[in-house]
Amino acid sequence: MGILFSLLIVVGLAVVALVGASMGHGMQMFFGVIVPYVSLAIFIVAGINKVVKWGRTPVPFQIPTTCGQQKSLPWIKHSPIENPNDTWGVVRRMALEVLLFRSLFRNLKTEINDGKLSYGSEKLLWLAGLAFHVSFFTVVLRHLRFFITPVPAFINITDSLDGFMQVGAPHLLLTGVILVAATAFLLYRRIGMAQIKHISLPADYFPLFLIIGIALSGIVMRYVTKVDIVKVKELTMGLLSFSFTVPSGIGVVFFIHVFLISTLLAYFPFSKLMHLGGVFLSPTRNMPNNSREKRHINPWNDTFGTEVHTYAHYEDAFREKMKDAGLPVEKE
């Protein structure tokens, strides 16, 4: 039900944009200018708000998950990345985590046969996850060409690398294909694998359908309906200079594309997609394991209950028994 529900919402959004954009200049202004502004504002304000909220929440204890040898005796080989004990180690650990999905790379598949457990390597999720994020990032980077004049060299280089296969005209951009394929695989896991399906919520299907919708509408514009790029750039540059122009004859697919992106932006700060920010703040990964070497301060340590059982209480309760057993006491 969650699957169909999420799919229908995304289809519905596309239809809304399609119908709206066909209704004339006024509605194109709405979908091409007002909605993107509003959604971008929501994305920035709510996204920053969430990160600030997290950031303001204290980290009372030093709780890194250690995945390698601690730094202890000088002759024992320390594992500085898997179990960092200083900031430089943490930076490297975080870089591996954020850029290469280190932890996901550990993934194993547990199987039981004839009462014997075995653990196979399972890198597909890591591969698809990485392919998805890298290609999404590259696609976003490529899109900067619509917002900068003249187009900076690095974007042109990215484009030509992306299209190095030189298939078709315009050249087929690989990241678009990879993005759709990786997203499709991630969706397949949630629909075709029983355990993953069982843990999935509409909130897991919805962003996948949304991103597939964005990617497909983009691909259609580039290779099929061929929107007028010059006019699109006129619009996007207008957005940047607050001149609010919507040139006529851009083509409705563009408005579907922009509306789905706007939805994604506005939805982002309220969803699991905030892992984009959260991954940097996760205390089990971004703290050094040096809690015995350097005292970690909990800002609310004093709010704990202070009632303790002191030695004096203890001796009062057991003094005679202690004396009989020959144990030293403070008060005779």
Binding site: L73, L108, A203, F270, H275, S282, R292, E307
Partner: protein
């Protein structure tokens, strides 16, 4: 209340990983026999001033929850969202990728989908969404949100006490989401409305009033130790003379009380006594701080801090310079990651320096508490003790990394170094089942009761399975570890799954191999069992 029967291993191993056809939210919790612990008796909670103490039974419909239980829970969640960045972020960012799902020993052993770490977390996340996020408030079930009901409390209770806070899921999570953290907070919330297990609440009350989980009073502790001292004398001919509550000693030694009471923990305690005697270490035991472990850690941070207080307080009272801690798992998570923050700074102590080797323990210069495996590994490295590993030749040893020293500390090499120097036959379990990927004994975090034996054996199945592999391949017959809970729980686990494998602490193996000054020829190991080979020679000598 009778303890339920545990099915036979050949039945238990048939795990069904199928998933029910409907959403987990629509599946009510079912309390299966052998999967849960008895409720706490009111006097345990009253002893430490915990709220809402009452007589209640988990398998009865009415849990006698306090009238304002719902407000208490919601207020408790709000407070913790504001206090713990970990909890706040872990509520928000899980993408349900499923990488953690088959990493949990309870899921592997039971096949119950709610034992996947992701779903265990969703049990509480669904409530978070409903009451604390706009999406959950507006879209309800479609946003994965649900109402907080008594059924939810029961579900939490059932599943948060089927998690041993082992952190294995957190190793595999791309964002480091740690179910241990969520379970700890979930249990804290349950504690606010007085729903604690007896097996945890009892030791907490004991530890608070008597100094240790087992409730051993001072004279019992010292007389128990006399039995160990007698056994050591029988084995070595040497009478060791430990001291209790001695002011002015250089070092305070703290270990889990289990080591002084039950086999095979007592053999490890004998190992400590023999080693310290041989070194001539100026150290003392304490009856007041006679517990290294901390069952308070399984109820609330507040309680954990109050119990942990005793260690520094006693070190200060006795005027020692620094502290050594014995072999234990969760004890070391607490000492390593929490103690200094709660009860430090220990500025009345000195930075630890081994009086035998002169080594400065730089990594413990703030807490001033050194793990005995660090201390002993340093001794061996410097050649300060004489070892005869052939005395352990009848043993074929593998090593179990305890969850907490592995994933909450990263102590992998120190115990291995010790073991490799004191035994000749050592075989590692496979990489997927050891070190940071080690499997829990299935009974940690206060789940080592009798009435929940089935889930313990299920949760311990992956660990036992790994031991079975090295047993079949290399003839392993001894499972060494550095955890007092392991020594008790792995014994039960081995009895059930692989009956011919024993369980021991690293310092038991060390003391077997330790050549002590002035000792008689060893014919028995620390268990008072004849040493193969040595026995014959002894008889021959006797005949002469």
């Amino acid at each position: 209340m009778a303890k339920p029967q545990t099915p036979k291993p050949e039945e238990l191993v048939k795990v069904d990983y199928g998933t029910p056809g409907k959403s987990w939210i629509d599946i009510p919790v079912e309390f299966k026999d052998g999967h849960w612990c008895f409720g706490s008796r009111p006097e345990f909670l009253e002893a430490v001033g915990m709220p809402n103490a009452r007589d209640w039974k988990p398998d009865e419909a009415d849990w006698k929850l306090p009238d304002d239980w719902k407000d208490t829970i919601l207020q408790g969640i709000k407070e913790r969202l504001e206090k713990y960045r970990s909890f706040h972020i872990f509520m928000d960012i899980c993408v349900r990728c499923g990488a953690c799902a088959d990493k949990c020993h309870f899921y592997i052993g039971s096949g119950d989908p709610k034992n996947m770490p992701v779903l265990r977390a969703e049990l509480i996340r669904s409530i978070y969404r409903k009451y604390f996020t706009p999406g959950g408030k507006v879209f309800g079930k479609f946003a994965g949100a649900r109402e907080l009901t008594e059924e939810v409390i029961k579900e939490w209770w059932y599943y948060f006490y089927q998690c041993t806070e082992c952190r294995r899921c957190s190793v595999f999570c791309p964002y480091g989401i740690d179910q241990a953290e969520i379970t700890m907070i979930g249990r804290e919330l349950l504690n606010l409305i007085g729903t604690q297990t007896g097996w945890i609440a009892g030791p907490v009350a004991n530890c608070y009033n008597k100094g240790n989980h087992l409730g051993l009073e001072p004279h019992t502790l010292s007389s128990n130790m006399e039995y160990l001292v007698d056994d050591i004398e029988e084995i070595t001919g040497i009478r060791v003379e430990p001291s209790w509550n001695r002011k002015g000693a250089e070092i305070l030694f703290v270990t889990p009380s289990g080591d002084l009471f039950g086999d095979p923990g007592t053999y490890t305690a004998m190992g400590y006594l023999m080693l310290f005697h041989e070194l001539g270490l100026d150290y003392t035991w304490s009856t007041y701080a006679s517990e290294g472990g901390n069952f308070g850690f399984f109820t609330s941070m507040d309680m954990a801090k109050r119990l942990n207080y005793k260690i520094y307080a006693e070190a200060k009272r006795l005027g020692v310079k620094w502290i050594i801690g014995g072999e234990c798992g969760h004890m070391w998570r607490v000492l390593h990651q929490y103690m200094d923050t709660w009860n430090g700074p220990a500025d009345f102590l000195e930075e630890p320096v081994s009086p035998i080797t002169g080594t400065k323990f730089e990594n413990a210069k703030s807490t001033k508490m050194v793990h005995i495996a660090e201390f002993t590994a340093d001794l061996i490295k410097h050649g300060k003790i004489k070892l005869d590993p052939s005395r352990n030749d009848h043993l074929n040893v593998t090593f179990h990394d305890s969850c907490n020293t592995a994933r909450g500390m990263g102590m992998f090499e120190e115990p291995r170094y010790i073991i490799n120097n004191v035994v000749n036959n050592f075989h590692e379990m496979s990489e997927e089942e050891s070190r940071e990927k080690t499997f829990c004994c299935g009974s940690g975090s206060g789940l080592n009761a009798g009435e929940n034996m089935e889930i313990r054996m299920r949760g311990g199945m992956p660990r036992a399975n790994a031991v079975k592999k090295v047993r079949d391949k290399h003839g392993v017959n001894m499972l060494a570890n550095i955890c007092a809970i392991d020594r008790a729980t792995l014994s039960a686990l081995m009895d059930y799954w692989t009956p011919d494998v024993g369980v021991c602490g690293a310092h038991e193996l060390l003391a077997n191999a330790l050549v002590m000054t002035g000792e008689k020829k060893r014919t028995q190991d620390l268990r008072l069992e004849d040493l193969p080979g040595m026995e014959e020679e002894a008889n021959e000598e006797g005949d002469e």
